[in-house]
């Protein structure tokens, strides 16, 4: 079953064309990796998928629902279903880690204080962030901020998660931890898009990989196919022949 369907997406910033014609689909339970050079427009694709960016043309369907034409207040339901993990964490710097994580729970669930606290401490432990609940984002390292951001995005157990380079800048130990988390979420039925430059992680968690080049999806292939065929366009991108 197709969960995300993107058709003929186009986007310009000022006079600069970012997307000419983007087409792809993501199936139920799948993790689609998005590769592409820096500035290729990967983050803009993810932002468009939850309506943070308005495309100039084309269509985006999430579980069959068209979202491009939706107004801000109609997008709330979509955003509860589809989480976006920001590239830099985007934590609220006026709140400590605990309140950052509690924010989505307070807004979208009916959990009481004790349940919220339990949920948060479980997640902090899972991400190796024990003891940081009282700390403010500015006192955390970049990698820790990213992990808190990731935790905040998945805390209300969204069906679809858009990961924007969740492992960039992390140490090997935490990278593996995040891979494990994503694989565990996948086993629970999460559908996801995974933007990354980190190839080992992409191979570990993705089912298919797509390459964004010159405003289009240049190529999509399954991970097993890419591993076999060394002349594949994605393999050429990975080895630095194309950018």
């Amino acid at each position: 079953m197709v969960v995300i369907k993107v058709k003929n997406l186009s986007k310009k910033f000022g006079g600069k064309t970012i997307h000419k014609n983007i087409n792809f689909e993501v199936f139920q339970g799948e993790c689609l990796g998005l590769l592409g050079g820096s500035g290729a427009g990967k983050s803009v694709i993810l932002r468009s998928l939850i309506g943070l960016e308005k495309p100039d043309g084309g269509s985006i369907q999430i579980e069959g629902e068209e979202i491009v034409s939706k107004e801000e207040d109609q997008l709330i339901e979509i955003r509860k279903k589809v989480a976006y993990v920001f590239q830099n964490g985007a934590l609220f710097d006026s709140m400590n880690v605990y309140d950052n994580l509690a924010y989505p729970l307070k807004e979208h669930t009916t959990l009481n204080h004790a349940e919220i606290s339990k949920e948060i401490h479980k997640l902090l432990e899972e991400f190796g962030l024990e003891g940081t609940s009282e700390v403010y984002p500015s006192e955390l390292s970049g990698g820790m901020q990213k992990r808190v951001g990731l935790a905040r995005s998945i805390i209300i157990k969204p069906k679809i998660v858009l990961f924007d380079e969740p492992t960039a800048g992390l140490d090997p130990y935490n990278t593996i931890k995040i891979q494990e988390t994503i694989i565990k979420l996948k086993q629970k039925g999460m559908t996801s898009i995974f933007v990354t430059h980190d190839m080992p992680t992409a191979f570990a968690v993705c089912d298919r990989l797509a390459l964004v080049q010159e405003g289009k999806i240049a190529c999509v292939d399954s991970v097993s196919e890419i591993k076999k065929d060394k002349s594949n366009r994605i393999n050429q991108f990975i080895s630095g022949i194309y950018i």
């Binding site: 932002r47 939850i50 309506g51 943070l52 801000e72 207040d73 997008l75 709330i76 339901e77 955003r79 509860k80 989480a83 976006y84 920001f86 830099n88 985007a90 934590l91 609220f92 710097d93 924010y103 989505p104 807004e107 979208h108 905040r152 995005s153």
Partner: protein
Amino acid sequence: MKRITEFLEALGKSYKLVLETLKVGFQRPFDSQLILDQIYQIGVRSIPLVFIVAVSSGMVMALQFGYGLAKFGGKLYVPKIVSLSIVREMGPVFACLMLAARVSAGITSEIGSMKVSQQIDAIRALGTSPLKKIVFPRLAACMVAIPMLSAAAIIIGVIGGLIVGSMELGLDSQFYLQKIFSTLKLHDFISGFGKSFFFAFFIATTSCYFGLSVTGGTQGVGYATTKSVVTSCILIVVGDYFLTKFFMVIEQWL
């Protein structure tokens, strides 16, 4: 020409911002804690500033009028003139100009930094509304706190005049007080105090609008903050003329 279209565009956008903010702001669940926090930030923490400005402007006016009018033997008119001008004009306008600087700079730079660090996007991405979480509490807090501060400024300013009148100009303080009460009518206070609601609205909408429209990095925040302070001040001084006329019409009905 470009500036005029820019101005009209900004006017249209801020109008839309206010309408949408009011629409989502009163939707349930209603988070009064956010408003109280802002009242503390905007109102309570501005008290020292407003106090200093009000008392000094009252004292200076009494001094100026005192020596100016003494030349024509009009020193006895000081209580009347000073208290009238403070209640109707100087109290609320000075207080709101200072608040425009302090509050607009604070709000615009805070919202602007949240914008450039993607925190505004994060509020949206988490299925909530920045208008409800950020703009509405600030708008509501300004509408409550700024008129209260203006009322305080009026009273403190009049007292400042009284202090100089009795200590410096040698007027009897009993006489001064009696003159204040016989001169000032309720409609004088309504005219001065009433304006402050409009000034509060100018300050809140301008600063939220400029904060949300920040683009670029920290430089954009600085640029927007400057623009926001200048715009709120201009709206207050220019608006004051029209508001004075407006309240004159209203006073005739009272």
